[in-house]
Amino acid sequence: MRDDPLDLLPELFLLGGAVLGLLACAFLPRGRGRPVAWICALGLAGGLAAASVAAAGPGGTVFASYALDPLTHVTRVAVAAATLVVVVLAAGGTAGGRSGGAGGRRLEAEVHVLLLLAALGTIVMAGAEDLLVFVAAYLLASVPGYALAGLGEDSAGTEAALKYYLMGAFLGVLTLTGVTLLYGLAGTTAYGGLGGRLPSAPSAAVACALVTLLAGVLFKAGGVPGHFWVPDVTEGAPAAVAAFVTTVPKIGAFAALFRMAGGFFTASTADWRLLLALVSVATMTLGNLAAFFQDNVRRLLAYSTISQAGYLLLPVVVAGRGDLAEPALLFYLGAYAVTNLGAFAVVVAVGGDRLRDHTGLAGRSPWLACALAVCLLGLVGTPPTAVFFGKLTAFAAAWSGGYAWLAVVAAANTVASVFYYLRWIVPVFRPGETVVAAPPGDAVPSEGAASPGVAVPREGVPSPGGVAARKGLARGAVAVACVAAAASVALGLASGVALTLGGP
């Protein structure tokens, strides 16, 4: 048994960063969160570097239940990088502006610690080769997320946290049920052992077990029927957190799902491909339809992430058939993460959630508007952004795996999705309307991450002047958005390199 802790160096970096950050939190005076952010960023950077180095190292299983393979490597890199971006977004929120204005709350420094812990859980989820490790990692990935959602300590944030928590707990219990059933059917919880024993298990029972097991995975992935928290949390939680919870857990969830699918789903006699295909269709369709008339960009993005989850399921459906599925999934995950973070960064930068807050954005900040257009068109799947190549490989994988009809459905869904993305893009490039000054009580500095309280106007309650009234745009978030947009295009153009790295 290999149990060299150095094999888990990236994870240890994250853990170390979290622990150090926590200590810093304890010793630093209130309101001085910047060092914590730095510590956590360093931890992430270290993890990123270690993961990159480890990717070149030998593969294999460590600690009898943790796989070192491209799936893990890519997840490590993607999660660490994405979390780093979120840390920047969140730090921009804490450090940038006034401290604790009227009604505004700043994110506490613990946010970074929690981000790191959740990222750690996500990574372990992807690398787990034992259902029990998976359950533990699920717990580790989820619990900080609940706290993150509620960090704003305002009404909407706590409601988001509540919903997030309740869905997570319920579906987590279901997952545990699935694990128990599988254990009962196979007598073991290791993927390898399951793969060996499941073929002889009765298919109906296995199907039942797989479905319940899927519950938690779909919760993390934001897929139907575990998607209900996504729009509510995205709307209610601080924007940076929303960016995190719609991006990072998905990476881990899909990697984990792919590993399960390749590891022991294939061995079972149940028609799990059909199961995932149905879930995929439902997810992408529901996400797209529900996004149609959203006037709140965060909810719109939330539903868009749901539909993206549907597309992401395509390569998973054909896991183990053909050599395209794995690179397709990994590339799509990376592409999706970059693009989605870019879009959320724009939301953070603008600070307003309503569509009309974005009207005339091009006039105020052409770069931000371009970044938004690139990101949204990227989410549509317009070449040469990365998501396009992700979609392309995913479609190709689905087709070559015998699920051409699924690719067709996904293509049709993509067309439908154009509609709501354009609903957002068009006003951005419309000549700007004059910005109304906000009433002082409502005025909050531009850090969207810091101001969930007012950044979330309730439906039916007109928010006079809108939050777009703020003068400035969060600089850090603008930079993040532009970088993400550029990265989205660059990743697309350099998809050859990326696919080669992730492919073998």
């Binding site: 919903k163 309740l166 319920f170 298919s203 199907a207 039942c208 059909l274 879930v279 149609f292 509609f419």
Partner: protein
């Protein structure tokens, strides 16, 4: 020598294009100035437009120039107009010179018989060649063109003044504003178009393959459109031009098909090889060619466009009715005669169409009250003889008839045009005594008309007989028809002659249609005697030795040539009719049946059978396009949005109550589809639970 073959149509063609371009060019925006000045719209934006015109000195100067011209008044020779005026004066000279040069080239070509070809499409060459038939035609075409252009150089009124003062716009104040610049440009354009028209005909008659022939053929049609609609301010004339173009193009469609079928049948587009094709193909080719020729030559049932073609200026009519356009159809049939003969039925069809046209349009001609309409109908009738000739294989006779008729008809139209310009009318009743007032025109017109009637010893008497003698051998029925047609020809010719030579009576009015100049210019008179001479003497072709040479020239087979008996019979009949008609008319002019006056109602039939249904179809398709096809497309997003609205769920719908009330799982399923995102965690739970349960059941049962 090959250069000559291209030079022949090239010279008038290129000159024509240049003239048209010169007619279109303006320096620095005279048109703006003119437009602004005329429409009283200038006050709002002169400064702006001046700016836009980038302040070119020339432009401003000329604008000013025109405005001074405004004050100078109506003078055609006014100093204003700049380039346009200059070009306007130079254009006739140049055009006539080019036409003369073309005639020289044509004669040269007739003797040297140049031929040349260039690759056009892959494996297909486009060539021109002057063989016997072409030689005759190029000379005829260029000669007639020269004559008509000379006449046009003299006739300035109709082209310029008329053009700037459309009937629909009225108002004399417009005339000077456009100034002589616009008039000059119009003249430029006119001569350019005429030259192009001629060039297109020259291409048509020298082309050795269908592609090039079709090029000349279609350009000719387009030029006829431009020329008929030359006086573009008049909606009726533009409409006439459109009808003429579309109708002839309907025939042209046949040539496209013929070209394709020739390709399929013989693998080439050579005219000479058409008859060699296999069974279905040469039939199709022949059908296409016959349709095209009937359309171009205004044979039944497409004759009506020729009536509309009268809307053009008289020189246009003169050219269009004699050596170009309508003659092209006859030419094509003569050229394709071997093919027609091979198919058999096509020759028969052509012969019958020709004979019937000669007969019926002869009657139509007799029924007309308008001189130009009479002449137009007579053109159809006479072309009927040529088509008949092609159908029965009377190649030499048909060609001779074509040539002689070209001379006669251009003469007649120029005469009618001269009177129209001088007296301002072409109504037969108002033309009484016209011949006596303008003797030269009267005499030459008389000669032409008598020739048209087939009166001995004038040309058409002989050439017509040379056709009839062949027809007589082939088919008695056709012969009988054509005899009656010849009789009608004599009658309508006599009617025309009588009309213009009778002395004026008190009811005769001048200027019934427009203001005449009262005189016939010298240049206008110049071509008439020449043409009259030709009209009178071309009959020599019927003399046996000459006819023999003629036959050899054309490569025609054993045609009998005009027979003595026939000549005698038709001659006497023609004289008798010619004498009888004036007597009959003197007593009481019979009122013609409206059907005949109206060209057999062909146009109404065509409108009712083709145009209206097509337009109705077009409109209904457009509606269909807007409502149905587009509607389907629109309804997809609509359905999508409707579904999305449902999926999104509504707060105000009393979700709680609803959800509480639904007790069954199935009803909950409906709730799931309609409004999943309720904001209520317990509904989320329930939905997730049910969803997973269903998934489990489905997957468990799937295997």
């Amino acid at each position: 020598m090959s250069a000559l073959a291209w030079l022949l149509p090239g010279l008038p063609g290129v000159t024509g294009v240049l003239l048209v371009l010169a007619g279109g060019l303006r320096r620095g925006g005279t048109g703006h100035g003119a437009g602004l000045g005329r429409d009283g719209h200038g006050g709002t934006r002169p400064a702006g437009t001046g700016h836009v015109r980038t302040g070119q000195g020339a432009g401003r100067e000329e604008t000013g120039h025109v405005r001074t011209g405004h004050g100078a008044g109506h003078g055609r020779s006014g100093r204003g107009g700049g380039a346009g005026g200059l070009a306007g004066r130079a254009a006739p000279v140049g055009a006539v010179a080019v036409a003369a040069a073309t005639l020289v080239l044509a004669v040269l070509a007739a003797f040297t018989r140049p031929a040349s070809s260039v690759p056009l499409f892959a494996g297909l060459r486009a060539g021109v060649e002057v063989d016997g038939l072409s030689a005759v035609l190029v000379v005829t075409v260029s000669a007639v063109a020269l004559a008509v252009l000379v006449f046009s150089a003299g006739d300035t009124r109709e082209l310029s003044a008329e053009n700037t003062r459309g009937p629909s716009t009225g108002g004399t104040r417009e005339l000077p504003a456009g100034g002589t610049g616009e008039a000059g440009r119009a003249r430029c354009r006119f001569f350019g178009l005429m030259l192009l028209f001629t060039a297109a005909m020259l291409v048509t008659v020298t082309a050795v393959d269908l592609a090039l022939l079709l090029m000349g053929w279609e350009v000719m049609g387009a030029m006829s459109y431009a020329l008929i609609g030359f006086l573009w301010r008049d909606d009726a004339r533009v409409r006439s031009a459109g009808i003429a173009f579309v109708t002839t193009r309907a025939g042209d469609a046949g040539l496209y098909v013929a070209a394709g079928c020739a390709l399929a049948g013989t693998g080439s587009l050579e005219l000479a090889g058409l008859a060699a094709g296999a069974r279905p193909w040469h039939d199709l080719v022949a059908a296409g060619i016959v349709v095209a020729a009937l359309g171009k030559s205004a044979q039944l049932p497409l004759s009506f466009w020729l009536s509309h073609a009268m809307a053009g200026p008289s020189p246009v009519s003169a050219l269009l009715h004699s050596a170009t356009m309508v003659a092209a159809g006859a030419y094509l049939l003569l050229r394709a005669q071997p093919l027609l003969a091979v198919t058999g039925w096509a020759a028969q069809a052509a012969a019958w169409a020709g004979a019937l046209t000669a007969l019926l349009l002869g009657a139509v001609a007799l029924a007309q009250r308008d001189l130009k309409q009479l002449l137009a109908a007579s053109t159809c009738a006479q072309l009927g003889f040529m088509v008949l000739a092609a159908g029965t294989g009377a190649l030499a006779g048909g060609t001779a008839h074509l040539v002689a008729h070209a001379a006669v008809k251009s003469l007649l139209f120029l005469g009618a045009g001269a009177w129209l310009a001088a007296l301002g009318t072409k109504d037969l009743r108002e033309l009484r005594g016209a011949a006596r007032r303008h003797r030269l025109v009267g005499v030459t017109f008389g000669v032409g008309a008598l020739a048209l009637g087939g009166v001995p010893p004038l040309s058409l008497w002989v050439t017509k007989e040379s056709i009839l003698s062949v027809v007589a051998e082939r088919s008695p029925a056709l012969y009988l028809l054509s005899l009656v047609a010849a009789l009608l020809a004599a009658a309508y010719s006599a009617k025309a002659v009588t009309a213009v030579w009778r002395p004026r009576d008190p009811w005769t009015r001048d200027d019934s249609e427009r203001r005449g100049t009262g005189r016939v210019g010298r240049l206008e008179g110049l071509p008439l005697p020449v043409l009259a001479l030709a009209a009178a003497t071309l009959g020599v072709v019927g003399l046996p030795p000459v006819f023999e040479a003629w036959r050899r020239l054309l490569g025609a087979g054993g045609e009998p040539g005009p027979g003595g008996d026939g000549l005698l019979a038709t001659g006497i009949t023609a004289i008798a009719v010619t004498v009888a008609v004036p007597l009959a008319v003197r007593r009481r002019a019979p009122e013609a049946p409206p059907l005949l006056r109206d060209w057999l109602g062909l146009e109404r039939v065509a409108v009712a059978l083709v145009w209206r249904p097509v337009m109705a179809l077009a409109r209904s398709l457009a509606r269909f396009d807007d409502r149905v096809l587009d509607g389907v497309v629109r309804s997809v997003p609509r359905a999508g949005t409707a579904a999305a609205r449902l999926a999104r769920g509504r707060a105000e719908a009393g979700v709680d109550g609803l959800v509480r009330d639904v007790g069954t799982v199935t009803a909950r399923l409906a709730g799931l589809a309609r409004r999943p995102q309720t904001g209520q965690v317990h509904t989320y739970f329930a939905q997730a639970a049910v969803g997973l349960l269903l998934l489990a059941v489905v997957v468990a049962l799937a295997r």
